[in-house]
Every structure is written in C-alpha cells, then in structure tokens.
Amino acid sequence: MCDQTFLAITFGPCDNCSQNKPLMNIYLKNEPINYCSLCVELMACQGLAKGETIHTLKAESETLKTKLEEERAKLHDVELHQVAEKIEALGQFVMKTRRTLKGHGNKVLCVDWCRDKRRIVSSSQDGKVIVWDAYTTNKEHAVTMPCTWVMACAYAPSGCAVACGGLDNKCSVYPLSLDKNENLAAKKKSVAMHTNYLSSCSFTNSDMQILTSSGDGTCALWDVESGQLLQSFHGHSADVLSLNLAPSETGNTFVSGGCDKKANVWDMRSGQNVQSFETHESDINSVKYYPSGDAFATGSDDATCRLYDLRADREVAIYSKESIIFGASSVDFSLSGRLLFAGYNDYTINVWDVLKGTRVAILFGHENRVSTVRVSPDGTAFCSGSWDNTLRIWA
C-alpha cells in the first residue's frame, strides 16, 4: 500500500508571504497551494482587471444571467404535464414495509445496495457501518469507524468491499472478509482526504476508483490502490452534499448538488463544470439521474423536488405540495423512471408520478427524519434509512 500523496497542511509557512500562519488549502488552476487567510483575501481582490470593481463585475454577471434565462426560455415550447396528459394515470398504489432492519445504535445516515440485489451497507451517527443481507435481515459484517457521523457509504461493484467516511474528512475502503476472526479495520485503506467532512461517496464502474464530495465545497476522483488524487472538481461555493454518476454510454459525467442551491454537471476527464442549474430556493440535499441519463432530479430543503433536463438545459418539473413543508433529504427513481421516491424531514416518504407531476402516495412508518432512500438495482424494492435508527425495505 502506497503512502498518501495528498495532504492538507494546517499550519506553516504561507506559499505567498512565507510567514508562519494558519493555512487555507486552495486551488489555483487545479494545483493545491497553501495560503494564509490574508493572502487569500488579497488574491481574491486581484481577480479584478483595470477599471473593474466588484460592482461592475456583479452587474455584468447579472446581465449574463438574464440573457441565459431568455435563451433557455426560447426553446421551451411545452410543459411536462401537458405532454403527459395522454398517458394513463396510475392506479391505486400500495407499498408496505416488508423488512425492518434494527441494529444501529443511532441515526442512520446513508445506505447503498450491493449489485446482488439483496445486500445493503448502511452507516450511522454512532460510527458503525453494517453490511446486511436485507432479505434475511441478518447482519453480515460490522465496522467501527474512528469517527462519528458517518455520512457516506458505498458498496463496491464487485461486492467485495465497502467505502465510508464522514467527520474524519476521509473516505476509507474496507475489503469485506468472511473470516469471523479477522478485524475488518485491519485491512482498511485510507483513500480520500478532504479538508472538511465527507458528504457522499460512490465507486465508478470498478472497485478501483472512488468519487467523493465534501463539505469543503469540492468533489474529487481517487485511485483506490494508491490513494492518489486523479481529478478534483471546483465550482461550488458552499458544501457539496450529494453526487451521482451518469448512466451514460461513455460514463464520463456526474452531477453534484450543494448548499449554494446549485446542481452542477461535471466532466470526469477534464474536471470542467459543463452545466449548472440554480432554481432551488435552499440547499440541495440529494441528486439522482433519471434512468436514461438525459435528466436528473434533486431534493432540497425548500420542500420541493425538481427535474432538470440536460439537453434542454433547464428545469422541466417541480414536485411540491402545500402540505409538504419540510425539506426532502433524499430522492431516487424507480426502474422505469415513472416514479420518484423522496424521503422528507417530516418522517414521511412521498411517491411522485414523474411525468404527470402529481403525488401518487405518502408512506408513513418512520418515527424520525428519513435521511436516505435507495431503490434496489433490479427495481423490486427500495430501502429507506432514518434518524429513528432503523432501515425499512418497502415493496
């Protein structure tokens, strides 16, 4: 196992003024550098050319924004619900809790399915990461993390490892061993290093690469074996809370959502932000691609879920209701993309008809906030994790 090649220095000589001060880790042209806070401020002001002031820049930014909105509106010739009028409405919708997984000692924060369609990994505030066979409700592995609030966890495509992280600012990969005597923490690999909490992580098409998002406002792509940073993605101006890989043929893009109310689409090869959407009124907690990869849905603290189309480059639907006051923490699509399952902070799960824009059902059962909702890989069920310490499988 190689040494970490990416470190965050917190105190030392500033790269600019050479004084010993508390340092901030920032990026210039994708290179990480360490500046003291004074130099960061100065550098931020230096971005202005002759004759520009903060005001002129702001005015220019505003005019560009308005022009962009006009361009987007020109091609908007029909609304989604109009197109959906000819489709049959969905009948009576019945979904029940089929399994309840109890075992976490504190709030469940994240869950992910294994590709074998029955196993899941879940992480919790108490620092435990548990692998379950959700079908039999048996616990198969348990890892105790050295930190609390493990906000992100992911199952490797091969089913042989899990990745998790949270307040430790790292993402670690644990190979799953079936030897009862072996301590899983012994073979752990520290892969990602951020300068703030880890909010979300996901393996790409193989066990060898991980994509992470963090409270430091960046996303990053890492090589698992060496821990090397392969690409970093800058563009959010606040914490990034969620990311999702596109199910496209070329497999090269992903979307991220953050506390700056923006949802950004990135190119994994170049690190460029290729598209950006900003219509939410509050933090975006969750982003998920529509199964065809042409659109994605977001869930936000403003109590709405929205659908954005990538080719039309605009928001095409809003899923909201007057009686839904609390934010949506997590969203996922059913296999065909017709249904959108959204978990809310008012302890419920709402099921939306994606095409018609109406709510199909409301599911009660959890006794505290629903923090995560994930549909199984073959679409037979979905799993919800909550702050009431349990997970439920619904079908």
Binding site: E225, H234, Y347, T380
Partner: protein, 454 residues
Amino acid sequence: MTINTLSQDGVQRQQMPCLTKMERMIISMQDPDMGIKLRNQRLLITVIPHAMTGLDIVEWLIKKCSISDEEALHVGQLFVKYGYIYPLKEPRNLILKADDSSYRFQTPYYWMSTRWPASELDYAIYLAKKNIRKQGELIEYEKECYNALHKRINHTWDFVVMQAREQLRASKQRRKGDRIVLECQEQAYWLVNRPPVSPEHYKLTTLTKNTIIEHNRISLARNRVKSSICLESYVKYCEQYQPHDPIMQGCLPSNPWITDDIMFWNMNSETVALPTKLRVERWSFSFMELLNDQMGRKEFLTYLEKEFSAENLCFWQACEDVRHGETAKIPEKVDEVYKQFLAPGASRWVNIDSKTMEKTLEGLKRPHRFVLDDAQMHIYFLMKKDSYPRYLKSELYKNLLARAIVPQETKKSVFPFMRRQRHSSPSPALATQTAEDDGKAKYSNSNSGTASRL
C-alpha cells in the same frame, strides 16, 4: 442541510427554511374570516380565551390542503412539535389529538424563528422562577438541568435569581387569566426548546471561490434542444420500461420481498441456462442494455465470432479495463492492448480509421488512463451502428427470444399466514475470494475466448 451554521461570507445561515412556511400557515390559520374559529376554554376554574380543539385544526388542514385525515393529523402534529400550537390540558405531551382537547396558538414572541437559539441564561431564569413559585414543581430532568446550569453559569447566578424574582413580582400584578396564558406560553416554549434530550450544534466554516461570469458566457453559447423533444423522450422511455419495473407492474413469478420466494432472482441470475423473455427483450432497447447484462454480452460475442469481428468487443473490454483499473497497472495494460489489437500484424487487429490510429499511437508514447478513449469510442459506435442492429435481426437472437421463458405467477399459498423460510445466499465477497485463490482475474472471462480468422 449541512452541519455548517455560517455561510461563506460569515453570515448566519437561515436555519430551517421550513419555519417560514410553517409560520405562513399558522398566520392563515388565525385569519378572522378563513381561519379556525376560536372560543373560550375552561381550564380548572379559569377561562382561557382564544382556544381551539384538535379536531378543528385537523379539519381546517383537510379543507385547506386537500389531503387525507392521516396526513392532516401528521402535519398538525408537526406544528405542535415545533411549538407553534400548544396543548392546554397535558402540556408535557406535545401531541395533536383529533378530538375536543384544547390547543392555543403560541405568541410570535416565542416562535422558533424569532428566538433562535434559546439561550442558557433565559432557561436558567425560567427554571428559577418555577422553583421559587412552587418548591418541588421542577420535574426530574428539569432539576438536573437546573443544577448543571447553576454550575456552568455560576457567575451570573445573582442576576438569574434577581430577574426571576422581578418577573414573578410583575406577573402577580396581572389578571389571573392573563397570568395563566403567559405561563402556558412560556412553558410550551421551553418544552419545545429544552426537551429531555437536547440537540447538538456544530460550528465550522468553509471558504471557496469561483468565476461565475466565464461560466455563464460558455453556457450562453451552448446548443439546446426543444423541450417538446426532450419531454417526449421521457414518455417513451417510461412506456418502454414499464413492463420491466417491478414496483409499477409487478414481476413474475413474484416479488421476492413480498412473497419470500427468491425464484425471480434465481431465474435472472447471470449463470442461468435459459433467460426470461423480458430480459432478452430488454437487450433490444439499447446497445448499452445488451452490454450491461453479462449474458447478453456473451451472446453478442458468440454472434461476433460467427461474423469474424469478435476482436471489436474484446478491444472495447480491454479499454474499459484500462479506464477503470488500477493506475499503477496502466502502462503494462496499454502495452498489452497495443500488442494484441493495434500493432501492425497483431493477432486481433481492430479496424480504426487512420486519423484516430495516428492520434492513439502518438499518445501511447506517454500512456495515461484516457489514451485509448478515441479508439474505444470509434469501435463502440462501429458495433452500435453495424453489428448490434444485425445481431437483433439474426437467427441467434430470434431463436433465443423464442425459447426464452415466461415465468408462471406463483400461486398464492393455501396457508397465507405461514411464512416461508428465508434462505441466505452466498456473499459476493466469498465468490471472488475463491476465484482469486484459483488465480483467475477479477474481470470477465470473455477476453480469454479465441477468435479464429481465416
């Protein structure tokens, strides 16, 4: 929601945007014409003005938001939990009951948004008042809090006691009805803000920078597609996949989670002898669907072998391996690919146009993860436009589709209340561990097929 309480410019972030929404609803509930009808309520020997019943609240919500009973009760419950409405008879029990139990609206002075966060000093004064007013009126956890506060903010204790005495004296001069109302309001506020287990608060700050202007300029120049075309494509996609969506349309023989019968998973596993009809049909939806299914990939490879173009698929798979594999192994893997597929006279030479070939060979001098991307893309689209449509029309595919199984729906059990045994399955971690022990590679074994050429 994030655990950071300050935004990038150091300003306090708006906590919980849901509070503004709740307050708007509360205000419309108190509207003299369209709101809830308030009456006087008797509490022991005093009359409390402007009270309403739980049933009133639920009915108003049902009418206003067009929702069901259950949902209205749920939403109303949240108003009580966050302190906008409080119960009169059992104040410690913050639940909404849809009967004639009385509730009142909390005064805006005590709303969560106006008094966030509730300070320790205020709480100490409140507990001190309670203690002075009636010895032993503090319940268990309040006593603990009181003692803890006494230790923590001991330096302000004189002030606390003095304030408590002053406030009690001032309240004695009010009418009994007013006094009781004020006490109820204050008590409700503290029950919401100091429940037996208090929440934790985190304080962290972040700093990032970006250039919005450049980004907007690029966005303006983008090519966009008409909404009608994009939206129609969703309708088509949903229609096409609906029979395959177990939640929408059920699955045959049955959904394992509902009936405890794993036949569905067994019939769709990777190594099954004969696939189901739905599965084979799905391969015709898109080239990606075919490749994503291991069995589909194998079938396609068999077809390509007959057409003597199997090296295309093998090349594509090798490129995928480079793109998603370990960084350390990239140079040797790229070298292998070159020797097998790209070198002049190679055993499995792939037909790429000269421009792409030149660019790729140039890039091979300094191999990196994406050096084979252009070549891989070329071959992928070649297969997609040419081999794939022919495969779907081929005898091989049509034969398989004809032979494919349509599972019988599982008959409902005679004894529906007898639960079936839920069997565990071998962990995927075990499967690959044994494979590794045998020295086999982790990736698919299609590469090891040999394609013979004339």
